[in-house]
C-alpha cells in the first residue's frame, strides 16, 4: 500500500496550524475542483486533497497520523503499526470534499466508515419514498465517434456501496452503454432503473451519466459544430484548389476558393454532430510555408519577392 504524505499533498509544513491547513485546503480546493479545473488529474488531486484535509483538520486523526512519522521511503510498502489506532476514536462528519471513497491507505488507518458512512452523501437530507433505490451519478468520457455514429461503449464505474458490516466500499461496475447518436458534451444520459436497487417492493434508482468528450486529434467541438484546421499552401490559397480533406464522414475533395486567406472558414453544412437540425463542419484554413532550406527553394522565394512587391505592414504605418 502506498503511504500518503498528507502534509505534502496540502503543501504545508508538519508544524502548520489549523488555520494554515484550512487556508491551504481552500486555496488548493479552488484550484483542483473538478468543476473548475481543466487539469487532467484534477479529480484525483481533489480527492487526495479532501482526504488529506479530513485527516489534518481533525485533531485526533492528525495526532494519530503524526505518530506514523514520515512514512516509509518512496517505493517502500506501508503497513500500519500493530498498535495503530489504540487510544483514538474516529467518529464524526464526512470530509468537506465530495469523494465518496477513500484510498486504501486512509481506510487502513481510519476504517472505511470513518469519513461518514453514506454513499453519495453531501447534498444534505434525502427526501424520497423510503423504498426507492438511490439515483447514481457518474461522469463519463466518450470519444467524438460515439456522438457522430452512436454505438456501444464499455464504461467502468465505481459505485459506492455499503457492505454487510456497514462499511463504505467502492464496487467496480462494467457497463455496456448504447451511446445515443448526437449526444453533446455537457449533456446527461439517463439509464432508467440502473441506480441502486430499491427496498423489498421499491423500484431501483436511475443512473445519470454526465457526458464529456475526449479531445479529438483533428476536430474541435463547439455545440453541434465541428472545426478542423486545414493547412494549405500559399498558391492553393491564392489561386484556389481542390484539396483532400478529412471529415467525420470520410475524406472529401474540398474546393478552396481563390484569394483565400489564413483563417478563412469554409462550411460543410450538416456535417457536424447529427440531430434534427445537425451541426455544421467548419474548415479553417491555415497557410503553411515550404521551408527555404536549399538553394532552389531560396531562389524560388526570391523570384516570388521580385515578382510580387508586397508590404503586409502597410496598415501599421511602416
Amino acid at each position: 500500500m502506498e503511504f500518503k504524505d498528507y502534509y505534502k499533498i496540502m503543501g504545508v509544513e508538519r508544524t502548520a496550524t489549523e488555520a494554515q491547513i484550512k487556508q491551504a485546503y481552500r486555496r488548493l480546493a479552488r484550484k483542483y475542483h473538478p468543476d473548475v479545473s481543466k487539469e487532467k488529474d484534477a479529480e484525483a488531486r481533489f480527492k487526495d486533497l479532501g482526504e488529506a484535509y479530513e485527516v489534518l483538520k481533525t485533531p485526533e486523526k492528525r495526532a494519530a497520523y503524526d505518530r506514523l512519522g514520515q512514512g516509509p521511503r518512496p517505493g517502500e510498502e506501508f503497513k500500519p503499526p500493530p498498535d495503530w489506532g489504540s487510544g483514538f476514536e474516529f467518529a464524526g462528519a464526512g470530509p468537506g470534499a465530495g469523494g465518496a471513497d477513500y484510498s486504501d491507505f486512509f481506510e487502513s488507518l481510519f476504517g472505511a466508515a470513518a469519513g461518514g458512512s453514506r454513499p453519495n452523501r453531501g447534498f444534505g437530507s434525502r427526501r424520497r419514498p423510503a423504498d426507492r433505490g438511490e439515483d447514481h451519478h457518474a461522469k463519463v468520457m466518450f470519444d467524438l465517434d460515439a456522438a457522430l455514429q452512436g454505438g456501444s461503449r464499455t464504461l467502468t464505474l465505481r459505485i459506492p456501496e455499503i457492505d454487510g458490516e456497514g462499511h463504505l466500499a467502492a464496487r467496480e461496475r462494467l457497463l455496456n452503454v448504447q451511446v445515443p447518436k448526437g449526444i453533446l458534451p455537457g449533456q446527461t444520459i439517463r439509464l432508467a432503473g440502473q441506480g441502486a436497487s430499491g427496498g423489498s417492493e421499491g423500484k431501483p434508482g436511475d443512473l445519470y451519466l454526465e457526458v464529456e468528450f475526449e479531445p479529438h486529434p483533428l476536430y474541435r467541438v463547439d455545440g453541434r459544430d465541428l472545426y478542423l484546421d486545414l493547412p494549405v499552401t500559399p498558391w492553393e490559397a491564392a489561386l484556389g484548389a481542390s484539396v483532400k480533406t478529412p471529415t467525420p464522414g470520410g475524406v472529401v475533395d474540398l474546393k478552396i476558393p481563390a484569394e483565400s486567406r489564413a483563417g478563412t472558414k469554409l462550411r460543410l453544412k450538416g456535417r457536424g454532430i447529427p440531430a434534427a437540425s445537425p451541426g455544421d463542419f467548419y474548415v479553417v484554413l491555415q497557410i503553411a510555408l515550404p521551408a527555404a532550406r536549399d538553394d532552389q527553394a531560396k531562389a524560388a522565394y526570391r523570384a516570388f519577392a521580385d515578382a510580387l512587391p508586397f508590404n503586409p505592414r502597410s496598415t501599421l504605418g511602416v
Binding site: R26, A29, R30, H33, D35, V36, F46, G50, G96, A97, G98, N120, G122, F123, G124, S125, R126, R127, R128, D135, H137, S152, T154, A169, R171, E172, R173, L174, L175, N176, V177, Q178, V179, P180, G182, I183, G186, Q187, T188, I189, R190, L191, Q194, Y208, L209, E210, R220, D222, Y227, D229, G263, K265, Y282, V284, Q286
Partner: protein, 103 residues
C-alpha cells in the same frame, strides 16, 4: 470486487426530453426544495413562471444545479459566489472556444 459486463443498455439524452417540476429536480439533486428555490432566486437556474407550483426546468438544469451544489459544498462558498463562479466558468469556456476558432 468486479462484476461481469452488463448491458448493452440504451440510454436517453436527458437534456432533450426531460421537463422537471421543482419536486422532481430537488429529488434528483437530493436536496430540499428550498435549495432549488434559492438557486432560482440567485439566477443560477431560470424559470418562466412566477407561480412556484408551475415551475418547469429543462433537463439541463439537473447538471447545472448539481454543479452549483458541488461548488457550494466543496469550496464552502455562498450562493452569490456560486452564481459568479458559474458565470465566469461559462465565460472562460466561451472565450476558449472563440480563441480556438480564430487561430
Amino acid at each position: 470486487m468486479r462484476s461481469d459486463i452488463e448491458g448493452p443498455l440504451s440510454g436517453e439524452i436527458f437534456d432533450d426530453y426531460a421537463v422537471l417540476s421543482l419536486e422532481e429536480l430537488s429529488r434528483l439533486c437530493a436536496v430540499e426544495k428550498t435549495y432549488i428555490v434559492e438557486l432560482v432566486e440567485e439566477g443560477v437556474l431560470s424559470v418562466t413562471e412566477v407561480d412556484v407550483a408551475r415551475w418547469r426546468f429543462p433537463g439541463s438544469a439537473l447538471r447545472r444545479a448539481r454543479t452549483a451544489l458541488r461548488l457550494q459544498r466543496d469550496l464552502e462558498i455562498n450562493l452569490p459566489g456560486v452564481a459568479l463562479a458559474l458565470e465566469l466558468l461559462e465565460e472562460i469556456e466561451r472565450l476558449r472556444r472563440a480563441r480556438r476558432e480564430n487561430l
